[in-house]
């Protein structure tokens, strides 16, 4: 850049971002999240950014965030899915019945049998994927607007869930399923560090591989120091997150109980941190897979092409109808995964599980920069969107904001986020 030397004083910071090739929207969202967290931390006299609260925030975000990644693809293809909350409910109901009634009665698998959890999850995934595919078929092949199909689905699946369980809360879930909810299943301190280091190594490898590939074709790459700084920032974020989760101590009474179960006596002064919850690992896995799908596969490329110009996609030989079925089926599968996490976190299937989640999921995707006009959206944006909403909600609850005001604020934030986003896009000169 020849004009750097004569650039006005405000330029250096922008130049830094440019050299690191960071997405301005990503930086903005992280800044918003940091501001929200610091703000609540001050107002609550230092209770917001504690290991305990960060841990809780993480496990409360997982279920909505997993579904929000799928909602990105739905909205990018110019569709909407209003049924995800009900879909989560019906998948949870099916899985609750599978593990507590059907498997024990039909196959004679008793409580705690090692096959119960995998079979239950398979049944749930099949139900979610099947229902999603049905929605996609109605939208793609029958031409019914997705708004209508999934509005119908919202009523139908919620009440099929009710019918299946007779409206009962179903407890006594399989112990292996319960591990996936949060506090009941974590990696522990040592393995959390290992997982963190693997994540850092993977991120560094991915960045350097992309750099090598660009180099091989003779493209300009960002300076090595910028790449290094980016990796260092990522490493600090990942390891910092692990450190915080490890710092959240397992309550002493609970530790004592586990020792007693093993027939041992807990040594004096013994402590243990929770570490990374399995549910958060599931979210990270989903995020990585969905990002790879979005950016590195034909399926993902076709999703974005179809959203950008459906006619062009069809003329390029893309089967946009089959694509719609696949996108909705994927959404259904993600609802099933969320259902496992949601029922495990509450240790029960309840009749209202997932109610109003469709709105949270859509809001998370939209706050994360997914454009309802189609063609634009990112997986990380949706996850950050979910995290921002959960932070606002739990922060306000800690401060003691009345419930009606909590929802008013979340509603305002949703509209404001889309407003800021549209201003940003107009400045960039691309279409709204």
């Amino acid at each position: 850049m020849a004009d750097t030397a004569s650039a006005p004083p405000a330029a250096p910071r922008r130049a830094l971002l440019e050299q690191m090739e960071l997405d301005l929207r990503l930086v903005g969202m992280i800044a918003a999240l940091v501001l929200i967290a610091l703000g609540f931390h001050l107002v609550t006299d230092g209770r917001f950014l504690t290991p305990r609260n960060v841990f809780n925030l993480a496990i409360q975000t997982v279920s909505v965030a997993i579904m929000a990644t799928g909602m990105v693809f739905i909205i990018v293809t110019r569709n909407i899915d209003l049924s995800v909350g009900s879909l989560l409910g019906v998948c949870s109901a099916v899985m609750a019945m599978t593990q507590t009634q059907w498997l024990p009665q039909m196959l004679g698998l008793g409580f705690g049998h090692p096959l119960v959890a995998p079979l239950t999850i398979l049944v749930g995934l099949a139900a979610g994927t099947g229902i999603g595919a049905l929605h996609g078929w109605l939208v793609g092949y029958q031409g019914i607007p997705s708004f209508i199909v999934t509005l119908g689905g919202l009523l139908v699946w919620r009440n099929i869930a009710w019918y299946l369980t007779g409206g009962q809360t179903i407890g006594n879930l399989d112990p292996a399923i319960l591990l996936l909810g949060g506090t009941n299943g974590t990696l522990g301190e040592g393995l959390s560090w290992v997982a963190g280091l693997i994540a850092v190594a993977a991120a560094a490898w991915a960045l350097m591989a992309a750099r090598r590939s660009k180099r091989a074709h003779g493209f300009a790459v960002k300076p090595l120091w910028a790449e290094g700084l980016l990796i260092a920032l990522l490493a600090a974020a990942i390891l910092g997150f692990v450190a915080v989760l490890n710092a959240y101590q397992v309550p002493e009474a609970r530790l004592r109980r586990t020792f007693e179960l093993r027939g041992e006596i807990m040594p004096e002064g013994y402590t243990e941190g929770f570490g990374i919850p399995f549910s958060v690992l599931i979210l990270i896995g989903v995020a990585v897979v969905m990002t790879v799908i979005a950016r590195r596969t034909r399926f993902g490329r076709y999703i974005f092409a179809t959203g950008g110009n459906p006619e062009a996609a069809a003329l390029s030989g893309i089967n946009t109808r089959a694509l719609t079925v696949k996108v909705f089926a994927l959404m259904g599968a993600l609802c099933a995964i969320s259902a496992v996490v949601a029922q495990a976190r509450l240790t029960n299937h309840t009749n209202d599980l997932g109610t109003l989640d469709e709105l949270r999921v859509i809001a998370a995707a939209v706050i994360g920069g997914t454009a309802l006009a189609g063609g634009v959206g990112t997986i990380w944006g949706a996850i950050l969107g979910a995290l921002i909403m959960q932070s606002l909600q739990s922060g306000m609850a800690m401060v003691g904001v009345d419930a009606p005001f909590q929802n008013i604020v979340v509603g305002l934030v949703l509209v404001a986020a889309v407003f800021i986003d549209s201003v940003y896009r107009r400045r960039l000169g691309s279409r709204p």
Binding site: S213, R298, R301, A305, G308, N309, A312, S316, G317, R431
Partner: protein, 256 residues
Amino acid sequence: MTEPLRTGTPLVEMRDIRIAFGGVQAVDGVSIDLWPGEVVGLLGHNGAGKSTLIKILSGAYRADSGEIRINGEPVEIRSPRDARAAGIETIYQTLALADNLDAASNLFLGRELRDRLGFLDDARMEAETRRIMARLNPNFRKFAVPVAALSGGQRQSVAIARAVYFNARILIMDEPTAALGVHETRMVADLIKELKAQGLGIFLISHDTREMMELCDRVSVMKNGRLVGTERVEDVTEDDILSMIILGKNPRREAA
């Protein structure tokens, strides 16, 4: 311009093509052909059926009846994929680009290059795009931005690059210069001549009769879904073509 040799087998023959939408016979028993190294213009009013006819060849529509032969071999074109497999590339009036994707993604849309693991090889696709653009439009620099940010001419060169890159034998251009300025129109005209010299067959749709007289070897005129006639451009005047378009008959032929 060199006269193509119309001997041997034609590159494309469309015989007695018919298609109806609802009660409207959009294309009604039309037969046209195209030889290697030839540019055939399709003329007619809006709604005359020329775009519909051409969309049957490019796989966007399926004819109700009729036969298509490529190099003398009958082919079934059921989808855009089939058309591409037969060496037919189309540049649509609407350009058919996904505005939110960059030039390389658009160029390879539907035919992405992949690495050993089956993932998209974006770096190689961009390198190939740079290579072909260096030939077609050396001033093109905007490889990293969505094509929404490109000018009409730049978008057109992406659309043309897509057709040229995959070594089409048959090119369909639907109003390729409609959205372009003078300079860019010149660029497209030069490119058509170059491709013609390489032996491609080109169907050209345009409303600009003067441009058609300059670029085409023959013109076929359609009206109300029927073929009025096909003439070699040196045998007719611009006025003759206009009367074919407007009146549906060739005054010279009628007089003869």
